[in-house]
């Protein structure tokens, strides 16, 4: 659907059908023939980005370029930005003097974040995990990468629940934030001191006694699924655990 204002703005829809695209390009062509100063493409409807969205975006870019009319993207959500960067298209569609990109108001430029506070009950952990899963889905991460992250969330949260000595009223602060090519997970809890970075891994590739492998599986999963782990004890009261993973 094209909304024509003083400064032509095209709403980029979430659903793209063959019939729609045919009309869309035709109307864009008519619009370009009017020689507007620039065309704004409103990407606010794009939550999940598919290859059809990307190829349509590229086609719009080519048509504008051929008409020598700048194309400006607005309300770009992090999922779209990330896909464009992975495909090496971001600098072509956004930079080169074509104007700034307005990032959706809930996310900061090149970053997206989620903050949760949950109690250490099974129900609250599951609720928090569901919210984290929704957040991961919007980021268009690889399937296994997203699975690793939700698994690590569950393992850390459950570890805090089972071994942190927290009361029912205590809560854990969790933040997931993205910057460039990595995602950082932060857990802050008021439990007893536990530094997972100091726990020796019980895994020994040479060791054939697999009985010992039953111990420390959770820590092993966390350490192997993430690229960096750091721990800090703050004010002798708070465990602050930071885990980072590069996008795959």
């Amino acid at each position: 659907m094209i909304v024509i204002k003083q400064k032509p703005t095209i709403l980029f829809p979430a659903e793209l059908t063959v019939g729609f695209l045919s009309d869309f390009y035709s109307q864009l062509d008519n619009l370009l023939q009017d020689s507007p100063g620039e065309i704004e493409l409103d990407c606010s409807a794009l939550d999940r980005v598919t290859s059809i969205h990307v190829s349509t975006l590229w086609q719009v870019h080519i048509m504008c370029q051929q008409a020598s009319i700048p194309l400006r993207l607005s309300s770009v959500k992090y999922g779209l930005e990330r896909v464009l960067r992975v495909l090496d298209l971001y600098h072509l569609l956004v930079d080169e003097g074509k104007g700034e990109v307005e990032i959706d108001g809930t996310e900061t430029k090149y970053a997206a974040s989620l903050q949760l506070r949950f109690k250490v009950t099974v129900e609250d952990i599951n609720r928090a995990l569901d919210k984290f899963r929704d957040f991961l889905m919007r980021l268009n991460l690889g399937e296994i990468c997203a699975f690793d992250l939700e698994t690590v969330f569950y393992e850390v949260a459950t570890n805090i629940r089972l071994h942190g000595g927290l009361n029912k009223d205590d809560s854990v602060l969790f933040t997931a934030s993205l910057a460039n090519d990595r995602i950082s997970l932060l857990f802050v809890d008021p439990g007893i001191l536990f530094d997972p970075t100091r726990k020796a891994s019980t895994c020994d590739q040479q060791q054939r006694n697999y009985r010992n492998l039953s111990r420390g599986l959770g820590l092993r999963m966390i350490k192997r699924m993430m690229d960096d782990i750091s721990y800090e004890r703050v004010n002798n009261r708070l465990n602050v655990l930071t885990l980072e993973k590069k996008f795959i």
């Binding site: 296994i144 698994t151 697999y210 959770g218």
Partner: protein, 114 residues
């Protein structure tokens, strides 16, 4: 929800359901050990529905493998998804555990082992 079905006097198939985590890992361990105590040498774990496997869930399986193998049997995983296989790979368990692509291959393994 964990379910099970005897295939013959030596073989039983257990389905752990969609999730095997800290909430039902004990139940899984009990189910397996009960099957072992009832004389089932071969325990096939059908992972077709399993979407989430925590460390506790892995532990519930691992703790029973030795028991079955000492009795000349085994615990055989089948129909595991890419995500579940990834968990086992992360934990270096792909080579240790007996993993078959489907139920038929798992049954054939059990028969060959006998």
């Amino acid at each position: 929800m964990i379910s099970q079905k005897a295939l013959d006097k030596n073989m039983i198939i257990i389905n752990p359901g969609k999730v095997l985590d800290n909430n039902n890992a004990h139940e899984m361990a009990d189910t397996i050990s009960t099957a072992q105590a009832e004389g089932y040498k071969h325990i096939i774990l059908d992972m077709r529905e399993l979407e989430f496997l925590s460390s506790a869930g892995v532990g519930s399986i691992l703790s029973a493998v030795d028991v079955s193998r000492k009795k000349g049997g085994d615990i055989i995983l089948c129909n595991a998804s890419k995500k579940i296989l990834h968990i086992l790979e992360v934990l270096d368990l792909r080579d240790y555990l007996t993993i078959k692509p489907n139920e038929e291959a798992a049954k054939e393994f059990c028969i060959t082992k006998d």
